[in-house]
């Protein structure tokens, strides 16, 4: 594809659900002219080895993302709050794997 066309076709993020009951997971992105086009291309590219039972496509420009520069104030304060992990409870054996 020419670079001009790549600029004309917006970018879409692709999410695939691998089986019923599981969540849709982000698996990649592609350029397409509209949502229907993006869905069909995602079907051909991302589900050809039986990876999915459902596809979502989302215009990439509608996603708001955190800034890498915000890492300090966003994420690092959580690093010394070990008490937020429920690892201090004793779990009865009958509960099994959580």
């Amino acid at each position: 594809m020419s670079t001009a066309a790549l600029k004309e076709w917006p970018l879409w993020e692709v999410f695939v659900r691998s089986k019923q009951g599981l969540e849709h997971k982000h698996c990649g992105s592609l350029h397409a002219s509209d949502a229907q086009h993006a869905l069909q291309m995602a079907r051909d590219v991302y589900t050809r080895r039986q990876e999915g039972v459902s596809i979502w496509v989302v215009p990439s420009n509608t996603i708001s993302a955190s800034e890498p520069n915000d890492k300090g104030e966003f994420f690092e304060p959580a690093s010394d709050k070990v008490y937020r992990h429920p690892t201090f409870y004793e779990i009865p054996e009958e509960v099994g794997h959580m």
């Binding site: 066309a5 592609l30 291309m41 051909d44 050809r48």
Partner: protein, 260 residues
Amino acid sequence: MNAPVDYLLHLADNALILGQRNAEWCGHGPILEEDIALSNNSLDLIGQARLLYQHAAEQMGKGATEDTLAYFRDVPDFRNYTLCELPHMPLMAATSAGDRDFATTIVRNFLYSSLMVLVWDQLQNSKDAQLAAIAAKSLKEVRYHLRHSRDWLVRLGDGSEVSHAKAQAALDQLLPYTQEFWTTSPQESAALANGTGIDMAALQNDWNQIVSEALQEATLQRPAAGGFVPTGKQGIHSEHLGFVLAEMQSLARQHPGAIW
């Protein structure tokens, strides 16, 4: 009850030859996603051909296999529609080189898939149980092929001036070849007579409707179908099939029995 061998070969050859043609896009698609889409389409068709050849080979015996049927028959033995063997470009001498035309590919896949969704649907009721099972599997695949090609047909036809002109030119060139769908061949008559085949003429109205609706949406003019009626399914082909077979069969013929 088994379908006549020549009828199975007709169905198989259509799938194999169009599959081989679509595979020519592998590595050359206009965009990565279309490259994969056309390869997927091609592999679906070759998969259908394999099942049909295996079924035919069982009846033929004498060492026939899917490989001998695909790789060791010559042009007059093939029973595919002439439409399936044409190159992806405006028609010219078979020895000429030209750029692949995406509109030609899309229009051909659309015309063929529109037919095959009807054919496979009906063949699910074939008295040949194995053919009925192959039909059920193939129907799902060809429904996607129709969706894919129809979607592009509308995008090209109702797109830019250039894409419209290319789609219209491809349609003008290819539509007359669909006349072959409605002529009767000995193998189709034999299959219809023993309940394993279908009445192709009965599908014509439904096919016309699928095509007309899509063309209207794509703002394309339907050319008059007239003149030469091709005879590929009777083994009389265009000059293009020989070149398809030469490329497809050369490896198997240079190394007979080779496996990996």
